[in-house]
């Protein structure tokens, strides 16, 4: 045994037979681990990722089937939409080049708007009716199916790449990310159940809260898929903005707020935005946080537009946020979130009283998907 010290192996003076076997065993184990440890870990990682990939495939296929079933059963699609849906799932949106950042947001806005218009036109053509709720739900179901299809493709790409190149680091990184990928995919799949029946999702807490201020008031379309109503609170005139419900729309709050200020000539003393915010682990669902700044997620176009118009007109931006997890944000609204709407309205009233005075104009925007929330 070349790896043992020659003095021990040859003379046998310091080790008994059992000690010798013991040393040989652990020395062998050490060498084996050194030589094959990485390969064993790669084997386990491949197994693990392969199992996750199987789950992602099931999720992807289920969401596709749910979308097709909805288009056929509720949308009353006159022809079999399967082939068109499959083409839809692989459709790509190419983001503009970012090496010259000047005007980049407008370019992104243009590409995203083109894509959204295309999706709506295709869905409307696919189904045999023009009901805006059904069209918007179909759009959302197809978006979920597209997202799951893309996640599956990317994970499969790195899985095969790691397998081909036997790349330990590629596979280990992917293995570490798999629990989060599965969790988010599971959340997306769960969202399908809420979308199908038009139930409000957690992200809709902003629209739920501001809809109370709009009941019985005249509404006007202020931007695409976005409505505005004028309300009043303790001598302040409130311009309340939300996406047009109960469709599954998020609207264009950026353009809506800009239109209120620039086209209607309103000079608000404050813009107050109400939105769902992702909670950190350990935070309670339905907790309310206050802050300053534009409370809006997404790709950043709307946020830019709001910040831009607020800065130009020197209007302070205030935010009221309702904490929730990603799963809670895209699935049916939980009781804790829904019941937070009372506290949101109280907070809103307090902020209005503290930050503005009688006779002021205030813009209040409820941000989020307004599925199942009319006004």
């Amino acid at each position: 045994m070349s790896f043992l010290p020659s003095s021990v192996a040859l003379q046998g003076l310091t080790a008994t037979e059992s000690e010798f076997i013991y040393i040989v065993f652990f020395a062998g184990l050490f060498v084996f681990q050194f030589a094959f440890g990485t390969r064993i870990q790669v084997y386990f990682a491949l197994n693990d990722i392969g199992r996750g990939l199987g789950k992602l495939k099931v999720m992807k296929e289920k969401s596709r089937k749910e979308a097709i079933d909805y288009l056929v059963n509720v949308g009353k699609a006159p022809n079999d939409p399967s082939q068109r849906v499959d083409q839809f799932l692989d459709y790509v949106t190419i983001m503009p080049v970012g090496i010259d950042p000047n005007g980049l947001v407008n370019k992104i806005d243009h590409v995203v708007t083109t894509n959204n218009d295309r999706v709506r036109a295709e869905v409307t053509a696919l189904i045999g009716q023009n009901n805006p709720v059904t069209v918007s739900i179909s759009e959302n179901l197809l978006e979920v199916a597209t997202a799951l299809n893309m996640i599956h493709k990317i994970v499969r790409h790195y899985y095969i790449l790691g397998k081909k190149t036997n790349s330990y680091f590629t596979l280990i990184q992917l293995q570490m990310l798999m629990p989060m990928i599965i969790q988010e995919s599971d959340a997306l799949l769960n969202a399908v159940d809420s979308f199908k029946v038009g139930q409000p999702v957690g992200d809709g807490i902003g629209p739920v809260s501001v809809s109370r201020l709009m009941i019985g008031k005249e509404k006007r379309v202020i931007a695409k898929d976005t409505v505005m109503a004028i309300s009043e609170y303790k001598g302040r005139k409130l311009y309340v903005v939300k996406a047009d419900g109960p469709m599954a729309y998020v609207g264009q709050p950026g353009i809506a707020i800009r239109n209120v200020i620039e086209e209607m000539g309103v000079k608000p003393s404050a813009i107050i935005m109400i939105d769902a915010a992702l909670k950190l682990e350990g935070e309670k669902t339905g907790e309310i946080a206050e802050g300053v700044g534009a409370a809006i997620g997404g790709i950043g176009v709307e946020k830019f537009q709001i910040e831009d118009v607020a800065t130009k007109n020197k209007v302070p931006l205030y935010a009221i946020l309702v904490k929730q997890s990603i799963l809670e944000a895209i699935t049916v609204m939980r009781k804790e979130i829904a019941e937070a709407s009372d506290k949101v309205v109280q907070t809103l009233q307090r902020v209005i009283e503290e930050k503005t005075k009688e006779g002021d104009d205030v813009i209040v925007a409820g941000i989020g998907n307004t599925l199942g929330v009319a006004q």
Partner: protein, 67 residues
Amino acid sequence: MMSSVPSGDKKSKLLVYSVEECPVCGQKTKRAFAVGDYVTKDGAKCTKCGNQTRVALVYAEGTKPSG
């Protein structure tokens, strides 16, 4: 080796409710969600004062997982 891919969790079942609120007397009635319900939709007549109620909230409540 511990698997990093989560296995099927024991999820609590969610039941979805619509809460109808009377804008006059404030009485709230909770019932099972029906397809077509949405927030601000007109509900049934108020059992207390007879006025038109309105769906104020739609939300899900979890039940304890079985097994």
